[in-house]
């Protein structure tokens, strides 16, 4: 078997104050695989993403992302080029004064030549359907448009691994449909955390269920999400298309 793109073994994370957010988390994700991460509010989905992206500290050897160990400072500095994360709230992610500058922020930080950055910005905005909005001020955009800008900002960095936290939030049905097409067309490893279980079904072949900081189920998305008992027990519902 080839080296997994994401490797997590017995990950534990506790916030200051002693609240344990993650306990004994372990899973592997193969290169190019799309995995859905579902669970009730406060289950630990965002904390897990922050650990995988190297934002929260993790013990040495517990996490490997695209062959990099986030616990190692030198390797952590290389993570942004390999791992892209789209946050739950787009306002946390978009801070530049124009859409173009915001999407260019990551590629410029990677030290790419300006011409290459311009090309990537154009491609990323095209991919999320925001071409023509380059000079718009982000805080004048709708929630859905901000979401796309946030996604474009990450896509422009061309990461090997994409972590999407509630990607369909604030999107209207058309935007959501386009997002699903976009996700399905991206040839990168993805973990998608969402309460939108239909989106998980449409985009992921595998699903992880997390509750109270522990992985409680891991298997084919259709099989896991169709398990009414499991869904009910962990504050979720079987998607309509599987009833």
């Amino acid at each position: 078997m080839s080296t997994p793109s994401i490797h997590v073994a017995n990950l534990r994370h506790a916030y200051s104050g002693g609240v344990v957010a993650l306990e004994g988390i372990g899973f592997d994700v193969a290169a190019g695989e799309r995995v859905g991460l579902v669970g009730p509010n406060g289950a630990g989905k965002t904390t897990l993403f922050l650990c995988l992206a190297g934002v929260l500290s993790v013990p040495r050897g517990v996490v490997r992302m695209a062959d990099l160990d986030p616990s190692d400072p030198a390797q952590r500095r290389q993570l942004p080029a390999k791992v892209g994360i789209v946050f739950q709230n787009s306002d946390d992610q978009i801070f530049n004064s124009t859409v173009r500058e915001d999407v260019a922020f990551g590629p410029l930080n990677l030290g790419l030549p300006v011409d290459e950055v311009r090309r990537r910005v154009a491609e990323a905005l095209e991919a999320v359907g925001l071409r023509g909005l380059e000079e718009r001020v982000p805080f004048h955009l709708s929630g859905g448009e901000k979401r796309r800008v946030a996604l474009a900002g990450v896509l422009a960095m061309r990461p090997d691994i994409l972590l999407l936290d509630e990607p369909s939030m604030h999107l209207d049905p058309r935007g959501r449909r386009e997002l699903m097409q976009l996700i399905n067309g991206l040839p990168v490893t993805q973990i998608i955390a969402s309460h939108d279980l239909e989106l998980i079904l449409q985009t992921c072949t595998r699903s992880l269920v997390i509750d109270r900081g522990r992985i409680v189920a891991d298997g084919p998305a259709r099989q896991v999400l169709a398990d009414a008992g499991l869904m009910e027990k962990h504050g979720l519902e079987v998607p309509y298309s599987l009833r």
Partner: protein, 254 residues
């Protein structure tokens, strides 16, 4: 959402065509000279020049007057008190239990003119070019990075917090809250301010995390490219010479 705090860019004008770096440098020169003025005539001249620049910049009149009025309101308590509190030589006139001094009136006039001049210059600077270019120009002029970053992030997130405040006010109104002079209202205002502070702090943490995830290493980089032309240098030279002449005139007037 368009906030009332937003900067309304003026229509294209002579001033909007200048290189932001030279324009910012000229502004800093003019602002420094204005703050040094102590005599009414030079202060009035500075204000007249700022007015001329505002006209040249084609600032929207209503937009400009609203901001000037707000600035005047903030400065009013200090300006109005000066004629009564400034003790010095020269004539004094009794006004009920108070005394108005000529020097105080003079000082109040100078302070008001300087304040209006500075605000007007700032509006000209803000409205004649995109904000990102201005921040980038500041970095190119070797202004301290943290100062520019804080200004940029403040400009961005003040709108988010203003939106948050609007939502909180709406939430209060739909639950029957009305502003009144009562202990309950003061306490509510305190809670709202506290909530905004906490949310602002939490958001700042999340923003920092998001920036690090996109490879931020403390250096702001941009796609903007600036080009110096002769006219930019002339603008800066004109601003510098005017500033020096104004300060010299003021010094001679004292």
């Amino acid at each position: 959402m368009t906030s009332t705090l937003d900067v309304a860019a003026a229509p294209p004008s002579v001033l909007s065509r200048f290189d932001p770096r030279w324009k910012l440098a000229a502004f800093l020169f003019a602002a420094a000279a204005t703050t040094l003025l102590q005599s009414p005539a030079p202060a009035a001249s500075a204000f007249a020049t700022a007015l001329a620049l505002a006209t040249l910049a084609r600032l929207p009149r209503r937009w400009c007057l609203t901001r000037l009025a707000f600035a005047a309101l903030v400065a009013a308590p200090f300006v109005l008190l000066l004629p009564f509190t400034h003790v010095g030589e020269g004539p004094h006139w009794p006004l009920g239990p108070l005394t108005v001094s000529a020097q105080g009136l003079n000082a109040a006039g100078v302070v008001a003119l300087k304040m209006l001049t500075l605000v007007l210059l700032m509006l000209v600077l803000l409205a004649t070019g995109p904000m990102p270019d201005l921040f980038q120009a500041a970095r190119r002029l070797h202004m301290p990075g943290p100062v520019v970053h804080v200004a940029l992030l403040t400009h961005r997130y003040i709108f988010v917090l203003a939106g948050e405040l609007t939502r909180i006010r709406l939430a209060l109104r739909v639950r029957g809250y009305r502003n009144r002079m009562s202990l309950h209202c003061y306490r509510t205002a305190g809670h709202v301010a506290g909530t905004l502070l906490v949310r602002g702090y939490e958001q700042a943490e999340r923003v920092g995390q998001a920036m690090r995830c996109r490879g931020f290493d403390g250096q702001f980089r941009t796609l903007s490219e600036f080009q110096t032309r002769t006219i930019d240098v002339l603008l800066f030279a004109a601003s510098g010479v005017s500033a020096v002449l104004l300060v010299a005139w003021d010094f001679w007037q004292r």
